[in-house]
Point group: C2
């Protein structure tokens, strides 16, 4: 853990050094991932089975790649009713928030007489990657599948590795809750390749979303362009901005909630009170003792944890913007006022009763958020990721008369004869024959 203070003359360099450590460098696995993708593209199901059997210690043939509806239902039946209720509450809240995101089409005729439009159209098919093993989170399924459903995507295909052949009951229950019944027991780069290029048993999709390890992230990067992807997810962060009027234990727990995700995760406290900072530091040590995932959380906090003591909240906002964190908790009396100064954050959690975990599960907004400072230029998952825009221009002769001559001028300046001619020939036809450009 690094303890920084803005009063230190070297603060800027110290902060820069912390930032330089972040980032999602998947270059080291680029070669193996390229090989896997090529192999899946070439050998299809055969390659999928080979990798799955090797990496997930299984023994399947192509007909077993897809998880049957009966298998899904059997696994899902193991989920306790209270958990199903919680999943349903989460699903309803996520659906409601993403419905509020649905954007409006544009359609207007301007003064020149051109009718201009923009229509949002759902993607045909989306692939959801769901990590297996220790990170098999049912709420990931909800957060990726429900926005696609709300957007109107017809086909959702899901890939989830099942190490040792075990289906995760919660993941299957979540998939069924979202109406996803096209599920494949495949993970890693091979799953990404199958979704991008298709195999005998898996039709290709148009966009791949969902978190994954470095292989999955690099595979998504490599198939990008052939299909769309959501983002290349890196290690995740929280920045907690808190004054001394908070329980240090609650702040410590919130920091550890980030740290327990992953050894590479980063938990940051920004406070204006050095004594409070030390109290939180001690509380972290105490709370660490109680956690099942202590080893992970402890390593994350030791290696990547940061406490920054600032002189005032303006400085705090500046430092928070520098981190451009995935998650920002604002535990102040006027959190909304503080949030006005935030330019870069995936999601903001305001108030002393709003830990980030609320957003992970039951808040409503998406928990798939830009990590590793990418909030500078990217956004959390939303219905927009499952829609695309088609613009349109409609004009008759009058509209063309209004804007065409300027178009012809520009086309000629750019040396594009046929561009100019496509407008000029119509303008000429209009001048000679009135409205109809038919020869």
């Amino acid at each position: 853990m690094k303890f920084l203070q803005t009063t230190n003359p070297d603060f800027d360099q110290q902060l820069a050094a912390v930032m330089a450590q972040r980032g999602s460098d998947t270059q080291s696995v680029a070669g193996p991932v390229r090989d896997i993708l090529q192999d899946v593209r070439k050998r299809g199901d055969e390659a999928l089975c080979a990798y799955t059997n090797r990496f997930d210690h299984m023994d399947i043939t192509p007909v077993q790649l897809r998880v049957s509806r009966a298998e899904m239902e059997k696994a899902a039946s193991l989920v306790a009713p209270a958990t199903m209720d919680a999943l349903r509450l989460a699903a309803a809240r996520i659906t409601a928030f993403h419905e509020a995101q649905l954007p409006e089409d544009i359609d207007y005729t301007d003064a020149a007489g051109l009718r201009l439009g923009m229509r949002w159209i759902p993607l045909d098919a989306v692939g959801l990657y769901v990590p297996g093993g220790k990170a098999a989170y049912p709420t990931s399924v909800l957060m990726n599948a429900l926005p696609a459903r709300v957007a109107g995507v017809k086909r959702l295909a899901m890939c989830v590795p099942t190490p040792g052949g075990q289906l995760n009951p919660l993941v299957m229950a979540a998939a069924l809750l979202c109406g996803v019944d096209e599920v494949y027991r495949v993970g890693g780069a091979q799953a990404v390749g199958a979704m991008a290029y298709g195999t005998e048993s898996m039709k290709p999709v148009d966009r791949i979303v969902g978190p994954g390890n470095a292989y999955v992230a690099e595979a998504k990067r490599q198939v990008f362009g052939h299909v769309g992807i959501d983002s290349v997810a890196g290690p995740s962060e929280v920045v907690v901005v808190a004054d001394a009027n908070n329980d240090p234990r609650l702040v410590a727990i919130d920091l550890l909630a980030q740290a327990e995700h992953d050894e590479q995760a980063q938990a940051v406290l920004i406070t204006n009170d050095v004594d409070f900072a030390h109290q939180v530091e001690k509380a972290v040590e105490r709370e660490l003792e109680t956690l099942t995932r202590r080893a992970i959380a402890e390593k994350s906090w030791r290696d990547h944890g940061v406490i920054v003591v600032v002189r005032n909240w303006d400085e705090a906002a500046e430092v928070a913007n520098e981190f451009a964190p995935e998650h920002l908790e604002v535990m102040l009396d006027e959190p909304r006022q503080f949030a006005q100064a935030i330019r870069h954050a995936g999601a903001i959690f305001m108030g002393r009763f709003c830990p980030e975990a609320v957003g992970d599960y039951v808040g409503g907004p998406n928990h798939v958020l830009p990590t590793s400072r990418t909030a500078r230029f990217s956004s959390g998952l939303a219905v927009h990721d499952f829609l695309k825009r088609t613009t349109s221009i409609e004009t008759d002769g009058e509209g063309l008369k209004a804007v065409g001559p300027a178009g012809v001028t520009l086309a000629r300046e750019e040396g594009l004869d046929a561009h100019g001619l496509s407008m000029a020939a119509r303008l000429k036809a209009l001048a000679e024959q009135g409205q109809k450009p038919k020869a």
Copy 2:
């Protein structure tokens, strides 16, 4: 050129073969691009000058990388007044359409008492890549810079190669018109690297937009994740859907307006009338004779041109969706009705008086559009590309009481202790002490 008919029993395979040829494979330059990017990252300005001097036949030192305002103004002063008027008309129309795109924030409190929000925030800094040489198009500058301006981006940096040292007057005039005065005479992968990582004389940006050759496209792909990019642009297409009630010459010119861009460009006619198809084919041959860029247009038409004769407009829509073209012209009596069946197209041009070139210059919607069938999952450039979304959740004790227990259940099921505890500890504090979670 390929002449296909849906009545042919092999039509599906023939169409699939045409599609398989498309795509933006930049793999072949991946190695050289990686070297250039690493070199720029390591040696900064020195590398930039070396590549610029080598590729653009120049002899500059780092102080000359940036084009001065005086140089820009001097170059821009060479543009004819009528051309400046045309550029201003285009700029005004592009600005107006992109202002209509500005999305609304979300802010509401739901029945459970959680205040949920989503705020659109402009990016801090954007880099515009503008191709040099034969493809130095001033309207590219407008189409990339104006949406960023409308979105509220404060810093716009532009890179444009200047082969032989010549500044393009139109490009400089367009940049000044958009208020862009941070311009560097650098192109290729080295420009992308400089914008992504920064050098001594160029601060890094958060997102890079703009078209370019295979090196630029591959460089954008490789820096993606470190910064945002718009898309990996490939060869461009038009699909013209036309009935026999059109002048074959106008259709031919529209096809050639696409073909003259690039030898890899693809122009496609879909019609329901085989005689009309042959008339267009002949008209293409005649019009080719007249074009300055005949060699390019001819090669594009020979290698990539397609005529598809369909039985009816439903088939036409299906085939058009299969192409998922960058540009779709609908030259029918009821173009809007036909367009309803289109799921995949970057932009649609409706009516017999609306050639695609209107959209290239003076329509208003963006001309930076998804190419090579990527309209299946991506969109043309818009203000959305220069904004990002930050979601927010605000809740007091009552809101947490409403949703927290379900959150605790899910966190425990996912084995994330601290996540559960961050909510459970607050719920406990609320139960014991009323509203304040302070210990």
